[in-house]
């Protein structure tokens, strides 16, 4: 064997600076809207200003006659051009809803596209929107999901016959008996309001059609180019090689760009029909009104415990407000069902019943948002734990300690069927407590409280399933395979290494981290590796980047393909160096014969294989390109504990976060700099979800938060420094040992902040059942609690 020091992995685990940065720092990125195509037609949409109405007439004549207008399209003009899209599911009691690029006869939420104007530029296209007259016959609208369940509620989709688009129940043990017998019960009705992903880049897309080659290319700000390629090929009845979907640089996604949108379908259909490039650039109003929303659940939950704090049973009844349509490809079940799937969290909960209904309302559809279901599940469960701790006069950390799944209990099957592999559940709690000096934090809090200040400490422990393989779908019942990922790694005739992937990085730095994985597995130099991604043409099947999957699945595929390619390189080298394969290894872009000074560069080997015919026997010239598909099958558990310390200003009800610590076990860390960055950003989004971010509709279904003035995301002055601790308790069975972690911060932060707020308000006897706790809600809560304390 060669010198083990030479072979020790040195890129995985290193704070390697990102290869993406130079282009992004100098304004040379390639975002969808940066693609300038001369002669492209711009689309502007006339969108519904009604929440629910029949369309009785559309007059586009005036718009069509306006300067610079090329054409005006309504649903009637698209008949026969494109089939509606349906997000199907294997789930029983599920109702798919047809998605048309333009509303067909009826609108079901404000912002739904009704008419498309194509003009020579965006200004003229938007001018012409004023020339469109739409006659609506308003229908009763429903914006409260509880009202949508009522017998007299307007039904959004008549073919479904109900507003309940999906229903699911998980159950283990006799919940009624356990609850009745339990000495300690805590519970309540919780509400996590609707939020928006709000990437800073609004959605945008441009479709180009090459008539000569019959090639349709859609460049889009999407997380799922592979899913869109497959769907468009079906909808347009085109072979996959004639439809290419490119997501070069994407300005953040957070789930909001992980679904297929009507705008993408329409630009593709019209570009093909017209033989011209067609583009759409969404604005912020369109983003807040039509990009899939997140969360929006009502959860009635109860936790039963023994007197020593042992958890006995958990019950949760969830209503998920999924908006007007079942989103493609994830379905309306995606978000609410995962609330009940993950509700028991990282704890031993022997008896459980979780029931969920996904209810249609006249709002924009909900879809994947960072964490999907888990932030809500964690908010509710962690609140219940803290409520129980207070009832039992136990420290919240101690109650968690007593109930977290213990090391010897893995693999642990959750009552909903999820299986946790060994992950640092308890270790994360202990490390977070140590890092923040929890006992001192409590002492300091006691002093501040004695001085009348509203200071609180909140803990949130959670586990999430990441890198989900083919055993289960990333969305319950969804028929699309999200459980495999492909890597093609090639050593070309110049000695350069290229890795092609089906994932679609949109800020995660996967061009850097996957190069790190390949460099170590192949023994290549980082500088010689280029990662290509975000393009459906790169591999036979790909979906994209979502659900904390890319490091696990693409990383695993990279490990697998690189190992095989390395074997081939070494076999070629063994001929060239006249040494046994066992005596050869590779590092830094060279192969070495152990114990000798004989070596060859990858470049020299590539030349010998590809061009210098005769240097190798004919049958020894193996193909230096390997494609491997990786399927982690089950997926792997990532665990974390967050601790937040905050103070509420009783005058303004502004919340100031003083400390924030995250201890997490995401397995083998590929690039700690990038992992830290993911945690920071995800925690900031979770803080936004806890304190300010809320999409508000009024009772008539009108959107009231349609700008960044009304929809408030955290700024630099509102996010505290975040301290991170990484644990690798026991390597998971995933190839490479990686666990997913991109979403975790957003899962833990709302719960940690909610518990800290409740802790701060404990002297007033107030509890937190609702997020976000905006200053207004805090003001009301404090006012009511103070009045009650006074006995008013």
């Amino acid at each position: 064997m060669a010198d083990p020091d030479v072979l020790r992995p040195k890129h995985i685990g290193a704070r390697v600076r990102r290869v993406e940065d130079p282009r992004l720092l100098t304004g040379q990125g390639a975002f969808a809207d940066d693609r300038i195509v001369p002669g492209a037609l711009h689309i502007a949409f006339r969108r519904s200003d009604h929440a629910h109405a029949l369309i009785s007439g559309i007059d586009t004549a005036a718009a069509a006659a306006m300067p610079g207008v090329f054409a005006v399209y309504t649903a009637a003009d698209l008949e026969g051009l494109v089939e509606p899209l349906r997000a199907t599911s294997r789930m029983r009691n599920y109702h798919a809803t047809p998605l048309y690029p333009l509303a067909r006869g009826r609108v079901r939420h404000v912002g739904e596209p009704v008419v498309a104007v194509l003009a020579e530029d965006r200004y003229r296209a938007e001018d012409a929107l004023d020339g469109i007259a739409i006659d609506y016959a308003p229908l009763a609208a429903v914006s409260d999901p509880r009202a949508a369940l009522g017998a007299d509620a307007p039904v959004l989709h008549e073919e479904a016959g109900t507003n309940v688009l999906a229903e699911r129940e998980f159950s283990r043990g006799d919940i009624a008996a356990e609850l009745a017998a339990a000495p300690i019960r805590v519970g309540g009705s919780f509400r996590f309001h609707r939020k928006a992903p709000t990437a800073i880049e609004n959605r945008a897309c441009i479709a180009e059609y090459d008539r000569g080659r019959r090639l349709l290319t859609l460049t889009s700000s999407t997380q799922i180019p592979g899913v869109i390629r497959d769907a468009l090929a079906d909808l347009l009845d085109m072979p996959g090689h004639s439809v290419r979907v490119v997501a070069a640089d994407v300005g953040g996604g957070f789930g909001g760009k992980a679904s297929l949108y009507p705008e993408e379908i329409l630009v593709a259909v019209l570009a093909r029909r017209l033989g011209r490039a067609v583009r759409w650039t969404g604005d912020r109003l369109e983003d807040l009104a039509t990009t899939s929303h997140g969360f929006d659940e009502i959860i009635d939950a109860e936790l039963a415990l023994d007197r020593d704090g042992t958890m006995l049973a958990l019950s949760a009844e969830v209503i998920g407000d999924v908006g007007a349509y079942s989103i493609y490809p994830w379905t309306a079940a995606l978000e609410p069902v995962q609330v009940v799937s993950f509700m028991p969290g990282p704890y031993r909960v022997p008896t459980y019943r979780g029931r969920v209904r996904a209810v249609a309302t006249n709002k924009a559809p909900t879809g994947p948002y960072r964490g999907v279901g888990r932030p809500i599940a964690t908010f509710v469960m962690e609140r219940l734990v803290d409520m129980a701790a207070r009832r039992l006069s136990l420290d919240p950390a101690e109650l968690r300690r007593r109930n977290l799944v213990r090391p010897e209990e893995f693999p642990y099957r959750v009552a909903s069927g999820i299986v946790w592999d060994r992950s640092g559940f308890g270790e994360c709690l202990e490390r977070a407590c140590a890092a923040i000096d929890y006992p001192k934090l409590r002492t300091d809090q006691g002093k501040a409280r004695a001085a009348g200040r509203l200071c609180g400490v909140g803990i949130a422990s959670y586990a999430e399933l990441t890198g989900i393989g083919s055993r289960i779908s990333a969305a319950p019942g969804m028929p699309i395979n999200t459980g495999t990922e492909t890597a093609t790694i090639r050593l070309d005739s110049t000695g350069a290494v290229t890795g092609n992937f089906g994932i679609a990085s949109h800020g995660q730095g996967l061009e850097t981290t996957l190069a790190q994985v390949i460099a170590d597995e192949l023994g290549a130099r980082l500088a010689d590796i280029q990662i290509l991604q975000g393009d459906s043409a790169l591999v036979a099947h790909g979906t994209g980047t979502y659900a904390s999957r890319s490091a696990v699945l693409a990383g695993g595929a990279a490990v697998s393909a690189a190992r095989l390619l390395k074997e081939r390189i070494i076999r070629a080298a063994s001929h060239l160096l006249e040494a046994a394969v066992e005596d050869i290894d590779a590092a830094d872009g060279r192969v070495f014969v152990s114990g000798t000074d004989r070596s060859l560069s990858f470049r020299e080997i590539a030349r010998a294989v590809y061009t210098e015919i005769g240097r190798l026997p004919r049958d020894a010239r193996e193909e230096l390109e390997v494609t491997k598909v990786y399927d982690p099958f089950f997926g792997t558990a990532t665990a974390a504990t967050h601790i937040a310390a905050l103070e509420i200003d009783p005058q303004t009800c502004k919340v100031r976060l003083d400390r924030y610590v995250v201890a997490e076990d995401c397995g083998r860390v590929i690039n700690p700099m990038i992992v830290d960055g993911q945690v920071h950003g995800a925690v900031a989004q979770g803080i936004g979800a806890a304190l300010t971010e809320e999409i508000v509709y009024d009772e008539a279904g009108q959107l009231l938060t349609a700008s960044l003035v009304d929809y408030v995301i955290p700024a630099a002055s509102e996010v505290p420094p975040i301290e991170t601790i990484h644990l690798d308790t026991e390597s998971p069975s995933t190839l490479g040992g990686f666990r997913g972690m991109g979403e975790g911060g957003t899962i833990g932060a709302p719960a940690a902040v909610a518990n800290a707020l409740a802790d701060a308000l404990a002297p007033l006897g107030a509890e937190i059942f609702e997020l976000p706790m905006t200053p207004e809600r805090l003001f009301r809560l404090i006012t009511e609690a103070t009045a009650q304390a006074r006995g008013d």
Binding site: L24, Y123, I200, H680, Q685, E718, V719
Partner: protein, 163 residues
């Protein structure tokens, strides 16, 4: 809407000219007429700051200005920060500290930081956070941006002191 007018400006040290309608936003003029797509529009209502550029040396939202308002002005966009292949100290610090993820707000963040450090070359962390609250980032949680700006400030002071 009225007929196009001639607009002249110096952008990143180079005289540039173009014709556009008086209603054309400065950001659209930069991106579409001058091909400078490094400056991004994030909200088009002056909140997110992604479109921040320097107009006559002062940070401005290019989504809240018409191109004709910049007629005769000197502009700096993200494309003008580096000196050839040599990145500006702020760009280097952003790279070193992982102060960008998707990179979409980054041009606005860099220009806002440049403007801020010109007026406050030795800022505290709180002052940096306060100044950068003019630009919204959704990926980084700001922590590494704050570090990068502090580091760049130090390097720029050292370089300034040496000259």
């Amino acid at each position: 809407m009225s007929s196009p007018v001639e607009v002249r400006m110096i952008v990143n040290g180079t005289p540039r000219a173009g014709r556009c309608e008086p209603r054309k936003l400065l950001i659209d003029f930069l991106r579409e007429e001058l091909g400078l797509t490094g400056t991004h529009a994030g909200c088009e209502h002056g909140v997110c700051g992604a479109c921040t550029i320097l107009v006559d040396g002062v940070a401005a939202r290019s989504c809240l200005m018409f191109a004709v308002q910049a007629d005769g002005a000197t502009l700096t966009t993200v494309e003008g920060l580096a000196d050839g292949d040599e990145l500006h100290p702020l760009q280097q610090a952003f790279h070193r500290h992982h102060a960008l993820q998707c990179g979409f707000c980054t041009p606005g963040m860099l220009i806002a930081a440049l403007d801020f450090l010109a007026t406050n070359p030795e800022p505290s962390e709180a002052e940096i956070r306060d100044a950068l609250s003019a630009v919204l980032c959704r990926c980084t949680g700001y922590q590494n941006i704050v570090k990068a700006v502090a580091d760049a400030a130090e390097k720029m002071r050292a370089a300034g002191g040496a000259s």
